[in-house]
């Protein structure tokens, strides 16, 4: 009985140590959010952080087709939303290209050695956005207006 | 008829490796040109928003239609049961695949996004003749390789006729499809006509045969294999027929366009006042590619001489490139007529072209890319005939057709 318990405790300790190690590693690897970006002030991304790490491309790609063919831009999963929230700023407050060395997208993709070609065509700093999650606040009063109008109808 | 013996190409090693080195260098230069164009973008070529297909397409389309034409020699033996053409079949199949690969490579490397080739292979829009051609081209290569197997493998002999017939029908579809890439374009004056499909088929007969004959003469001369006068006569008469057919189709094409008043401007451009393009038409397409080779082929003395027939083949090929240049580039340089009865005084910014002839001067890289495709189309058979038994030991009349020697040669 005693031996069984000892073994159990040992196993638990081992598991805890491994778990801690893994967590420490995950934090170290995953923490590419730049302090200067708006994302730094938020608790989590548009989905759970761990989910975003693994599945952000699936979300972006799904959104891409919804946008191109369906004209749906007003969701959380747009690439322009990613850029707008995760882009870092230099000392003078100017945005830094998100695919530049050391910036959010590039750092992690470099670490994971995954090619990224979104920015062959897409803007790397928020400039001339039409609509995304971030700028929706600016549209809020319009939204209220149209909702009011819908009620009238 | 004696049993035909095929042998690997037995040219001296120095000469062989020298040839391979030259062809490999040509292919390498083509590859580097493609990389250069890809790295910088298409602004380094002569292509613009007016002339969107340039020199690479001239080479690619020529090679692709020559590919289907090169297979014709095998078809004549298998499908039409002309026994004298049977020994020519293997080289015909090899050359067809090689020319196709060369042409397709040029076409693919000229894409704006060649890295997305996978998209082209997996996403299809079947209302596009281009999408159909992707299947026609890959299918052609696969069928021709199968056809070669039936020719080379005893077990496959009984399949030779059905496979050969299928390959023949497939190549007709392929060339019609290639011509239809242009023929189905309603928005451009020079295209928008069904005759381009059959015209490309006839052109493929001539260009493919001319390339075939040049390769045959070169390889046979290089290791001293004989070609009998009767065989020579067959091939040159066939070439004469095909070249005449091109001239006939060219005539009908232009007569059709000339008859409608609305096409008189584009006809005047191609035939009379198009400057370089008119010259390319008359001197290149008609004279060099048509009348001169016909003159040689039907000249009672010159047509007995191998070097003159070789020259006739070369002229047909040069004329073929000129014809492609006029069809592909001349037709794009001519302005699209959007406002009948009006002259276009201004069309966007000053260099932006509309309502007048678009300038186009091919840049070196795009030309070298095209030449690289030709290099690959020759490199493949150069390796093929050396390592496998593609070439018959002899094409002397005695070996091919014992009765021929009894008849006068010409």
């Amino acid at each position: 009985m005693v031996t069984v318990m000892t073994k159990g405790v040992l196993l638990a300790l081992l598991a805890a140590a491994l778990g801690m190690g893994a967590m420490a590693q995950a934090e170290e690897v995953g923490d590419y959010v730049l302090p200067s970006s708006r994302a730094a002030a938020l608790g989590q991304c548009v989905e759970a952080t761990e989910y975003m790490r693994r599945n952000h491309y699936e979300l972006i790609r799904h959104q891409r087709d919804a946008t191109v063919y369906g004209g749906i831009r007003g969701t959380d999963h747009s690439l322009s939303g990613c850029v707008s929230c995760h882009v870092g700023y230099d000392g003078s407050g100017a945005p830094i290209e998100i695919n530049a060395k050391g910036q959010f997208c590039r750092s992690c993709h470099d670490y994971a050695a995954v090619q990224m070609n979104c920015f062959d065509c897409h803007a790397t700093v928020p400039q001339g956005e039409s609509w995304n999650h971030e700028v929706s606040a600016a549209h809020a009063h319009l939204k209220a207006f149209s909702e009011a109008e819908a009620k009238v109808r | 008829m004696k049993r035909i013996v095929y042998r690997e190409w037995l040219v001296q090693p120095q000469r062989y490796w020298g040839l391979l080195a030259i062809l490999a260098a040509v292919v390498a230069v083509g590859g580097l040109s493609a990389l250069y164009m890809e790295h910088h973008g298409h602004w380094v070529t002569g292509m613009t928003n007016s002339v969107v297909w340039g020199m690479p397409h001239v080479f690619a389309v020529f090679l692709i239609i020559a590919a289907s034409g090169a297979l014709n020699v095998a078809s004549i033996g298998t499908v039409f049961d002309k026994k004298a053409y049977k020994p020519l079949g293997r080289l015909s199949g090899l050359l067809a695949v090689a020319l196709l690969v060369g042409g397709l490579l040029v076409l693919v490397l000229d894409l704006g996004r060649p890295d997305r080739l996978l998209v082209a292979m997996t996403t299809h829009n079947f209302s596009s003749i281009f999408a159909w051609n992707i299947f026609l081209y890959t299918g052609f290569a696969a069928i021709t390789i199968g056809y070669l197997w039936t020719m080379a493998e005893r077990k496959g002999h009984r399949l030779q006729k059905p496979v050969g017939t299928f390959a023949f029908l497939w190549r007709l579809a392929l060339t019609t499809g290639t011509g239809s890439i242009f023929g189905f374009l309603v928005g451009r004056e020079a295209y928008d006509t069904a005759i381009l499909g059959p015209m490309f088929v006839v052109m493929s007969f001539a260009y493919g045969l001319a390339v075939y004959m040049l390769v045959l003469f070169y390889t046979f001369d290089a290791d001293g294999r004989p070609i009998g006068p009767a065989m020579l006569k067959r091939l040159r008469s066939l070439l004469g027929l095909f070249v005449s057919a091109i001239l006939y189709f060219t005539l009908v094409y232009h007569l059709t366009k000339l008859y409608g008043a609305k096409h008189s401007d584009i006809e005047a451009f191609i035939l009379i006042n198009g400057g370089f393009y008119s010259a390319m038409f008359w001197v290149g397409w008609i004279l060099i590619g048509g009348l001169l080779p016909l003159g040689i082929i039907y000249h009672p003395e010159l047509n007995q001489r191998r070097d003159w027939i070789t020259a006739a083949c070369a002229l047909v090929i040069v004329g073929g490139f000129a014809a492609m240049y006029v069809i592909i580039i001349g037709s794009q340089a001519y302005p699209q007529e959007m406002f009948p009865g009006h002259s276009v005084l201004q069309f966007g910014a000053p260099g932006d072209v509309g309502g007048r002839v678009a300038p186009y001067s091919p840049s070196l890289p795009e030309f070298l890319l095209g030449i690289g495709g030709v290099g690959l189309a020759l490199l493949i058979p150069a390796v093929g005939v050396r390592v496998l038994q593609f070439l018959p030991e002899s094409l002397s009349d005695r070996d091919i057709d014992p009765h021929a020697s009894a008849r006068p040669a010409a």
Partner: protein
């Protein structure tokens, strides 16, 4: 392909609700339907074929020497950010850079009369560029906008060969500067998309028409070809219009008065 089917089905469903909406509007005519602000909210459902967006060009109002529409389009869609590659010929570059809308000046061969007009993608109902595209990247959205899905465009330029209006541009160079709303990259083809990002955000306007009105010319009217009471159909009802290359039977979404 799936997307189109989905949106078509969605279109049928939406058609009923929209029809109900129209009848409501007919009952209560006081409700504002066409002011941009009224519907300025990003859409959450896929676009449908309830609307078909289009333009009317009144050439008699198109002023000579005015380039307000072209300039506005350049700014709206980041076309002014294009830079000529170092070493390219200046005139050649004008024919290599992307141009979505251009001013065209015509002279009648008989009478010598001058006509000015803006020329852009005509947003055909049966677009030749869509027919010829091997990958389906060139497509027509359910609401009639013809555009390019740059994610599947391989840069073959067959659409440019097929377009009767020279409306399409190939990106010949590396693009460094671009706007979030107008992605642009080397090796793909693009053309006017009727300021689709505005429409999707609920803003029923295009940069060209807005600029033309701001100049006081009002030669361009943007609107819904399917809405009989909308501004476009109202304007179309007032004068004779035709399509450029009407002989091709493409049923363009852009109509011209006075040509």
């Amino acid at each position: 392909m799936n997307h189109e089917t989905e949106s078509t089905n969605q279109g049928r469903r939406d058609f009923l609700s929209a029809a109900m909406g129209v009848s409501t509007a007919a009952i209560a005519p006081g409700v504002i339907l066409h002011t941009p602000e009224a519907s300025a909210a990003p859409r959450t459902d896929p676009v449908t074929d309830v609307h078909r967006w289009g333009l009317l060009v009144d050439t008699s109002k198109c002023a000579e020497g005015c380039s307000a529409c072209v300039d506005a389009c350049d700014r709206e869609n980041g076309l002014n950010l294009q830079a000529a590659p170092l070493g390219d010929d200046a005139m050649k570059w004008q024919n290599q850079r992307a141009t979505w809308i251009r001013k065209v000046k015509l002279q009648d061969n008989l009478s010598g009369q001058i006509t000015n007009l803006p020329l852009m993608c005509q947003h055909c109902e049966h677009p030749p560029c869509v027919d010829v595209c091997p990958t389906g990247a060139s497509f027509k959205r359910a609401d009639g906008i013809v555009m390019v899905d740059s994610h599947t465009c391989i840069g073959c330029r067959y659409c440019m060969m097929a377009c009767p209006y020279k409306a399409r541009s190939f990106i010949h160079e590396q693009v460094d500067q671009k706007l979030t709303r107008a992605p642009r990259g080397k090796g793909c083809v693009e053309s006017c998309n009727l300021c689709v990002h505005r429409l999707d955000a609920g803003d029923l306007s295009t940069a060209c028409a807005e600029a033309c009105s701001a100049e006081g010319h009002r030669a361009l009217v943007f609107g819904d070809l399917k809405d009989p009471s909308g501004p476009l159909r109202q304007a179309l009802a007032k004068q004779r219009t035709r399509q450029i290359r009407q002989d091709l039977g493409l049923n363009t979404g852009v109509r011209y008065a006075g040509i």
